[in-house]
Symmetry: C2
């Protein structure tokens, strides 16, 4: 039985924010300005980790021409500018349309004050995304940052239980999920279904998960506006403001997987029995 | 990318019941009688699939002597009697303390009118269970029964996302979970955490899940009484009676994994990226 890695970092609390932006579809300049403003606000509020939505630079229901026009390379000076706006030891995670030659990806960038620390390309594409983006062909990385080891996922990725599980087992202290959740029906009183997936994934691996959704109707499509922070016990924490800002103190602990005198959600696994 | 098996059976609906019994700890005769009564009642009510709790024959907080005294072998005449009480094409799934020589297992039996079709030995043991039971060393089987292909799990097994996922990918039409959920704190308005795990597991693999919990305080310990039926869309169905009986019509469909025009929760997997 293999015992997965858990970060060696000591017990600590991280002040984090999900900012549920409302990107303007196809309007790169407006979206860059909104990210600048969110970053400045977060730095002023003492936030160490800022998480923004999927495709924050472009919006979602794009034509191929719009997607291309909004797409950025990781070498873009915008990323360097954002890195420069971070507070000391601060981290930004944002979704963006990534351009690599003629190919586009639905990606998430993890930035520290040093610049782009990692880019993850969404591996599970939803619906018509496949008409715009190529799926990534690499599993998400564990990104060692000043706020901890972050594991990024993007939207539909989270609905494959292998994905958050894999990040947790690989040593992620915290899973960060830029997302655009299209509004779907749900029974009265229930959380959005994607939030239930996040709660279950967090509890199963005793790993906190931050999901930053988006807002603002776009070409007749509505969003769940389901931004959610889940603690390592699987319960929701924090309350989003009317302006779409969810601030939370995330408890990070290398001992988090021990859930009872005799049980540990990692050590109790039986990987030899898993297909 | 491997495409998992989905049962060839046609679209259909199955009348199923979870009966949340209150086993008497260490009192085999009383528990056998309660199972007899539940079986007779279910047959009279037109139930095709009856699911009973974990350790229904013995209770949970057992001394080693009590566990041994209550333990049954699959060859026990009690199983043959229960098989004989099933309606045509009926199925019973019940938890029981299993004896194999000097070794005990926390097991679930799947019975058809022909007798015991399969026994699954719990592979993830909770807390002091390890003092009484040996963990099973085989993954749960897919049991082909007249009501469909059933995948059994027992209690804590369900909290390892690999387990329901593995059963669904192996072709289970329906996952059945005899359980004893000790009462734990939860925020106001939330489902029990184990129910959230079940909802997420069902939705992730588009597979219905029936969890039969127990009731009745036992040696000062209380239970969640969280019996839950989850549809393949991840939402709870049915309402439990005051007597602990939850009847549901479970929709079974080989096409269930297709969740949109262009998406399928199995075909969209990227197993080459999963650890």
């Amino acid at each position: 039985v293999s015992i997965p890695v858990v970060s060696e970092r000591s017990e600590r609390t991280l002040r984090a924010r999900c900012h549920e932006l409302a990107p303007s579809v196809g309007d790169l300049d407006a979206n860059l300005a909104a990210i600048d403003a969110a970053l400045a606000e977060a730095a002023g509020d003492g936030i160490r980790l800022l998480v923004l939505p999927e495709l924050a630079t472009s919006g979602y229901y794009l034509t191929p021409e719009e997607a291309l026009a909004c797409a950025l390379e990781p070498e873009s000076p915008h990323f360097a500018r954002w890195a420069g706006m971070l507070p000391p030891d601060g981290v930004l995670v944002t979704g963006f349309a990534e351009r690599d030659g003629d190919v586009l990806y639905n990606s998430a960038a993890v930035l520290t004050t040093d610049g782009v620390a990692a880019v993850y390309r969404k591996t599970h594409l939803w619906d018509a995304e496949a008409d715009l983006f190529r799926p990534g062909d690499l599993a998400p990385p564990i990104v060692d940052t000043p706020v901890g080891r972050l594991g990024p996922l993007i939207c539909y990725d989270l609905e494959f239980p292998e994905m958050p599980r894999g990040l947790a087992l690989a040593g992620a202290d915290l899973i960060v999920v830029p997302t655009n959740w299209p509004l779907v029906p749900k029974p009265e009183g229930e959380h959005p279904p994607e939030v239930i997936q996040a709660m279950a994934a967090a509890r199963a691996s005793a790993v906190p998960i931050l999901c930053c959704d988006r807002r603002g109707a776009e070409r007749g499509n509505e969003w769940t506006e389901g931004t959610a922070a889940v603690g390592s016990d699987g319960w929701l924490v924090g309350t989003k403001t009317a302006g779409g800002v969810l601030d939370v103190d995330v408890a990070l602990s290398p001992a988090r997987t021990k859930i009872g005198e005799r049980n540990d959600v990692f050590r109790d696994r039986r990987p030899e029995l898993y297909a």
